[in-house]
């Protein structure tokens, strides 16, 4: 495969997967809630995505007259670009990786902290009360949970002695890091859900409280970009969990890429199951949970990991 072809194929596959996982979520969620879900278009309703796309592209692309026009148009692009940039460092298989990068994990944290802007600017530029409320919730939530995301990741960095993801995968040849870092995994998982504001942490767009939060004023493909961006975020966090804690593409018998897809698919399904199973907490409960419980736990995790590593070495 030539060097420029790999990123292109990965990009196309990711966009298709992002759209297709909307169908997956609706179908599986229906299964868990004793409904049928979309099953009319094509076999098993697989072509529902195509129908949705036709619908969303032919809708009126409305920019509210009271909105800040430039920011209003830019902000859905930011979330798509930032999430897709995150995939650049993920090793899908031994030879399938877009960018080898020494400080890959830091790059990832930078990308995830920049994607806050998309939602904040969407809320601000919409110039409406519900959108602004959603944006403020997002800013507070994402800044709080970013702290534990970084701290939980440092446990993995201590174990692997490296920031690059390929080195972290290589370090898990014998034992997956989930065995050494169970607490770190749980913390990263919770922070990951909050970062991509999925249910149960979807307070920025809590439809029962603030209409649709930051994307209240959005329509047509601009709304579609927020929507697909969210599912791309789910895929990104799932593949990160696979890479960091479950050995990446490593596994017996099957080819590496298939292992990676299987593990990532499992976590995508787990994200959907969480949405089906857990109710949304109140907003202040979310923040108290973050600062009073998760922050001390992640500091403890970092301390114990460092201490054990030092005592084993020396």
């Amino acid at each position: 495969m030539t060097s420029w072809l790999t990123p292109l194929i990965i990009l196309i596959v990711l966009l298709l997967l992002g759209a297709w996982s909307i169908w997956l979520e609706r179908r599986v969620l229906a299964l868990w809630q004793d409904r049928l879900g979309p099953n009319r278009v094509g076999p098993f309703g697989l072509l529902q995505v195509v129908a949705d796309m036709i619908k969303i592209f032919t809708k009126e692309d409305w920019v509210p007259p009271f909105a800040d026009k430039v920011l209003f148009i830019i902000s859905p692009m930011i979330v798509m670009i930032m999430t897709l940039l995150g995939f650049a460092i993920i090793p899908f298989a031994p030879n399938i990786q877009i960018a080898q990068f020494d400080h890959a994990l830091l790059f990832l944290l930078a990308i995830s902290s920049l994607s806050v802007y998309s939602i904040m600017l969407a809320g601000f530029s919409s110039n409406s009360k519900y959108a602004l409320l959603g944006a403020m919730r997002t800013a507070a939530q994402m800044i709080s949970y970013e702290v534990f995301m970084g701290l939980a990741l440092m446990g993995v960095v201590i174990l692997a002695d490296d920031f690059s993801l390929s080195a972290i995968v290589a370090a898990q040849a014998d034992v997956w890091f989930i065995c050494y870092q169970p607490l770190g995994f749980v913390l990263f998982f919770i922070a990951g859900i909050a970062e991509i504001h999925r249910a149960p942490f979807d307070l920025p767009e809590a439809e029962t409280e603030i209409v649709a939060g930051f994307h209240t004023e959005y329509s047509s493909m601009k709304f579609g970009m927020f929507f697909i961006g969210e599912y791309l975020g789910v895929i990104l966090i799932s593949s990160l969990i696979t890479t960091l804690y479950f050995g990446g593409w490593q596994g017996p018998f099957l080819p590496p890429l298939l292992w990676f897809i299987l593990k990532t698919g499992f976590f995508i399904l787990f994200f959907i199951l969480l949405r089906a199973a857990i109710p949304r907490p109140r907003y202040d409960q979310l923040m108290v949970f973050a600062w009073y419980i998760l922050l001390p736990l992640s500091l403890l995790n970092l301390l114990v990991t460092g201490a054990v590593k030092l005592s084993l070495l020396g």
Partner: protein
Amino acid sequence: MLDNMLNTIFIITAAIILISALLTITAHNVVHALLYLVITMLAVSLIFFILGASFAAALQIIIYAGAIMVLFIFVTMMLHQGEKSLAQERHLFHFSTSITALFLSSMLFFELIFMLFLTPTDSANSRVTAPSSAIITVKDIGTQLYGPYSLLVVISALMLLSALITAIHISKSPVTSEIKTKADNL
């Protein structure tokens, strides 16, 4: 070839920094001004990256663009009132208020020009392109921070701790706790 490319990227990035910094000051809308500042931060981090300090570049994005500027925008979003606040600011601002600032910054500007003419151009050029062997690793930074610079680390830690304690103290001021006890009694 590579040096040439790095030089070109450096010049483009520097131009972006200058333009966005200028726009930060001149933008009418406060949120737009802050966004131009974010672009400045990102461009500065790219310059760190070109100079081989990729760790500093990542931290520049994570801390400045990702956390501090988000908080800035968060606060301005809450206080922002569009045209109303702009009119209010116009009312507050007179030319006479800016005389001291203009005097001081013009002094700095002349110093800068003076220094630019004083230093020979060769040494300035050689600093721009960092050789690829001089990439600074996290380990280097760690040994530097906890070796010769450990006193600075301790001092900044103390400063941050005191800021943290102050923030907690303010948020637990007697007024709010009084309201809380009243609410509990109800």
